[in-house]
Amino acid sequence: MFDFSLMLEKFMDFRIQIAEAVGETFLMVGISVMAAILLGLPLGTMLYLTAKGQLRENATWSMILNGFVNIVRSFPFLLLVVFMIPFTRFLVGTAIGTIAASVPLAIVSIAIYARQVEQSLFEVPRGVVEAAQSMGASKLKIVYKFLYVEARSGLVLGLTTSTISFISYSTVMGVVGGGGVGDFAIRYGYQRFETELMAAVIVLMIVLVQLIQFTGSLISRWLDKR
């Protein structure tokens, strides 16, 4: 029989290590979310703009950008992490540790969110772009005064979904010493047969994911006036 009080007890015993692991997860996922916003959003916008029939239709760029996104997303994640070690070392000076682990995670995050952004932008009715053009809006203004405004709830919801995948990806980062909650659950809970401790950490992650989804949905609904 599963012992809940034991689970709680274990959780309290390891609270310092757990807090540290949570901190690492937050750091990795936080960096990924930043990367997604700063680079995934523009990349997704470019995917949209260069697509056929769009404002900056360009078959070559469209192929290159789609190629990048598809390759990154279809790479088995652990292989990507290994494959990227030279780049990671070049970028942050080491291939080991939480910051280093954030590099491949951020790359995947950019690709994942870019797709979400592209989808959200495609949902904006074409007429909105036409109205914008008729007002003499430049392409840049069309993007952020029209497209982002109309797509904003989708952009937030997409970021929410993406963030949850980032958390999931981050759990395997133990292989390059990235730490985090997933790594903690494996090392302490699984490898040392501390089933209750593992369960406690899993519950913690479920709560975390629920919280993110709830907040994201709430903001998205609040932003949506359609």
Partner: protein, 253 residues
């Protein structure tokens, strides 16, 4: 005001080249309400969209205010477009901005200060009779009200011309009448030239001074509506001219 010189536009589709507009020349008189009527797929919208070069013609000239818009570089074309408001059948409002936010958009694009913007937005909403809806989001408005917002938005930057593509086609007849009154009012009090694309005869009868008939990508007729005379019953399938004027005649296109 606006003249199209021999404009053509074709689209290449699977089965070859489709001529949507074929060498049309047309002048819109300053201060007039000009109707463009014709059956579905005739090329009316394409023709209207050429007037602000949303649809660049394959050949021909688009002269507005003395300059050929087809030869302007992108940045100058954008400026030129600001003096031509556009109104659509499906309104194309920003649903995530309030009514006043929507009307403010063209002013923001033109870089107007916040205070001036507020003033101008109020003026425009007052003009279309929607000042009490300023803080609402478009989703809460009726079709007619949405179209008024769209008209207010098109007016915000004090355009010389209003290009309307089927502005009443998704509205009932009462609301259509209201919107046509707003357009007539704009024409009469502000002196704005209005171009209306429609397939509804009544719209042309109601407010147009002049009308151009477009069929299969060609301009097939054009006449002033003041010439209206007693109608005689046509025996053959009546042309748009006969339906509107009640008589046949020589085109003055």
């Amino acid at each position: 005001m606006i003249s199209l010189h021999e404009v053509s536009k074709s689209y290449s589709s699977g089965e070859g080249i489709f001529k949507a507009v074929e060498s049309v020349s047309l002048t819109i008189r300053e201060g007039s309400i000009h109707g463009i009527i014709g059956p579905s797929g005739a090329g009316k919208s394409t023709l209207l969209r050429m007037m602000n070069v949303l649809e660049p013609p394959d050949s021909g000239k688009v002269i507005v205010g003395g300059q050929d818009l087809t030869r302007l570089p992108e940045s100058q074309l954008r400026v030129a477009r600001r003096s031509m408001g556009m109104v659509f059948q499906q309104f194309h409002l920003l649903h995530n901005r309030t009514v006043s936010g929507n009307v403010a958009v063209p002013l923001e694009l033109a870089g107007m200060s916040k205070r001036q913007r507020k003033e101008r937005v109020e003026e425009c909403l007052q003009f279309v009779g929607l000042q009490d809806k300023a803080k609402q989001y478009p989703a809460r408005l009726s079709g007619g009200q949405k179209q008024r917002v769209a008209i207010a938005r098109a007016l915000a930057h004090r355009p010389a011309v209003l290009l309307c593509d089927e502005p009443t086609s998704s509205l009932d007849s009462v609301t259509t009448g209201e919107i046509l009154n707003v357009l007539r009012h704009i024409n009469e009090t502000l002196g704005v030239t209005v171009v209306i694309v429609t397939h509804e005869m009544d719209v042309v009868k109601e407010i147009c001074h002049e009308v151009s008939v477009v069929e299969q990508g060609r301009l097939t007729d054009g006449f002033a509506l003041e010439e209206r005379t007693a109608r005689n019953v046509p025996r053959h399938k009546p042309s748009y001219r006969e339906l509107l004027l009640g008589k046949a005649g020589v085109s003055d296109v």
